[in-house]
């Protein structure tokens, strides 16, 4: 495997992958219900609504109520997909998710767009960077953060057949599409490149930044193993441990706070099973701000060069 073999097929937003996956589910699974809190267009749920008006519920700007309604729908045997921004899908409704969905074992799919700083100009009120941490702490919650349009579409379809609550996190910006030919299985990491010097584990939009970084590093003679972790919980421990056994150092990359994200999950795994030098590419205990996605990724330490630097730093610690 090499990142040079990835087929890049233009750019699309991950939220479009959600919308197209949901449309496909609407056609194939009559139990799927879509609920939205006044963000139909932003969540790309228009087409599902058009094709299945009787299975679309407009809740209005009332996210707590939406989570409860979804729990009730699941109780009655439906497969509800809730759609709103990631901030309003998690922090705003944490207790509703905790009690009515997670503790109550409800088969609700919490689908969250505009996660992270890449939502851009709206600024920090909407740029949630803590959501993975909140959601992965809930017992029984599956947490998935796909990296491009194709993976988000595949994940959307896959979670309908997974019994139990799921948090599916995606975003706003147009982003390279490069996983169309790769298999998607909940809980299974994807090896994007074999290498021997360093392991890079990335999730979400940062997978593409890691791909770019690997090309730079390889040109400098550093052999990188690149793993895409889309399912943060349950974590594919095997793929990480196997890689680190070989490379003996690791960099994690994610569009999230350093506290509580994928990097923390990896650190916890390695501390228990295979202590290894690790560097984080993530937000360092800070809120975001207005700007373009690329400007913000760079300013907050999540650009291509940040991955390159993290690799060079961790190599010194081997």
């Amino acid at each position: 495997m090499s990142v040079n073999n990835l087929i890049v097929n233009g750019k699309k937003a991950t939220r479009d992958g959600f919308g197209d996956g949901l449309t496909e589910l609407g056609r194939n699974n009559s139990k799927v219900i879509a609920l939205c809190a006044d963000l139909l267009g932003s969540l790309k749920m228009d087409n599902f609504k058009k094709e299945n008006p009787e299975r679309f519920v407009q809740v209005g700007i009332a996210e707590a109520n939406m989570m409860g309604i979804a729990a009730g729908m699941a109780t009655a045997g439906k497969i509800p997909f809730t759609g709103t921004f990631a901030n309003f899908s998690t922090g705003r409704v944490y207790d509703q998710i905790r009690q009515s969905i997670a503790y109550s074992h409800k088969n609700v799919k919490i689908c969250a767009s505009h996660a992270g700083v890449t939502l851009g100009e709206d600024g920090a009120t909407h740029q949630i960077l803590e959501d993975i941490g909140m959601m992965k702490m809930l017992p029984g919650m599956t947490v998935i953060n796909p990296c491009d349009y194709a993976q988000t579409k595949a994940a959307t379809i896959a979670i309908a057949n997974h019994l139990g609550p799921v948090y599916l996190r995606f975003g706003r910006p147009s982003w390279p599409v490069f996983t169309e030919n790769l298999p998607f299985e909940i809980g299974k990491g994807i090896l994007l490149q074999n290498g021997t010097d360093v392991t890079i584990v990335a999730t979400g939009h940062l997978v593409w930044k890691a791909v770019e970084a690997v090309k730079i590093l390889e040109a400098e003679g550093i052999s990188c193993e690149l793993i895409n972790i889309h399912t943060i919980k349950p974590l594919d421990e095997e793929i990480i441990l196997n890689s680190v056994t070989k490379t003996k150092c690791i960099v994690s990359a994610e569009e999230h706070q350093r506290h509580g994200g994928l990097g923390d999950s990896i650190a916890q795994l390695l501390a228990r099973k295979l202590p290894t030098p690790q560097e984080y590419v993530a937000v360092n205990d800070s809120f975001g701000e207005s700007g373009t996605p690329d400007q913000l990724l760079e300013k907050y330490g999540m650009g291509t060069n940040d991955v390159v630097e993290a690799v060079k730093n961790v190599l010194k610690r081997k």
Binding site: A62, N65, M73, S104
Partner: protein
């Protein structure tokens, strides 16, 4: 339909169960449980069409959601007494490894419970979801929910109230335990509910009022509520109850919201509540 006298006998036994459970655990919420014993007895032994064999999805049967989960003793008693699980299990209330957790939960698989509750304000939303699903499935049965009155201070209640009216969820009957009391005092001291019937009416609901501690009134009002099904509006029944009803020294204030009686108080309470079905 069961005779009023028979329902009152069941309610007396339910009240005995409540005070015995709370005494035995030396924790729990007897006040609201006693106040709602008549309503819960009416619901499970007369009003609802339900199946104690218990299917989680509740298809083609009436289902009930307890939003004010802290009055779990009355919920557990009526579930056990109507056959969802053995009456003897009431003795495990709030003890380690029990299915009868302090607040109701599906987590331990107790038949009769469809969602966890306790963190307030969430039950009407869940009931709305089930009611909408029943409409999608052309299931003619009803969805009931009970909330406390202090619980109406939670914003989510009014999110659900607005949603249910907008969506004409007319297979939903919400009942309110309107005892006027909450942990820190009366509703009026803590945060007044104002014109409660008017609030529900302006949100677009059919509003009925009843005594919540008179079995004949309760049965009549709940029957009227059922007849309002399908009229394009959700239905709320405001039940004037008394916290602690049936045990004289637990009535008249918020004092017995969440404390357990001692041995002397227990025997005093039990002396006021005839044993009718046999203690667990």
């Amino acid at each position: 339909m069961r005779e009023i006298a028979e329902l009152n006998k069941i309610a007396s036994q339910v009240r005995r169960d409540i005070v015995r459970m709370v005494f035995d655990a030396q924790s729990g919420h007897p006040g609201g449980s006693l106040g709602c014993a008549d309503f819960m007895t009416a619901l499970y032994f007369s009003v609802m069409n339900h199946d104690p064999k218990f299917n989680m999805n509740g298809q083609n049967e009436d289902v009930f959601f307890l939003s004010n989960g802290h009055i779990s003793p009355v919920f557990y008693s009526v579930l056990a007494r109507s056959g969802y699980f053995p009456v003897a299990e009431l003795a495990t209330f709030r003890k380690l490894n029990t299915r009868l957790q302090g607040h109701p939960t599906t987590h331990e698989g107790l038949p009769g419970i469809r969602v966890a509750s306790g963190s307030l304000g969430q039950g009407i939303s869940v009931a709305c979801g089930v009611a909408l699903a029943k409409k999608m499935d052309e299931d003619q049965s009803l969805v009931y929910a009970l909330t406390g009155d202090g619980e109406l201070q939670e914003g989510q209640i009014w999110e659900a109230a607005m949603f249910a009216a907008h969506n004409k969820i007319d297979n939903l009957i919400v009942t309110v335990d309107w005892n006027g009391q909450q942990i820190d005092g009366s509703n009026n001291q803590v945060c007044s509910l104002g014109d409660l019937p008017g609030k529900w009416r302006t949100f677009g609901w059919e509003v009925l009022e009843t005594s919540g501690n008179n079995m004949a009134d309760l049965i009549n009002t709940l029957q009227k509520a059922k007849e309002l099904k399908g009229n394009g509006k959700p239905i709320v029944v405001l039940m004037k109850t008394e916290m602690g009803y049936g045990v004289d020294f637990m009535m008249g204030s918020h004092a017995w919201h969440g404390i357990a009686p001692n041995a002397e108080q227990l025997s005093n309470a039990l002396a006021q509540l005839p044993e009718t079905l046999g203690d667990y």
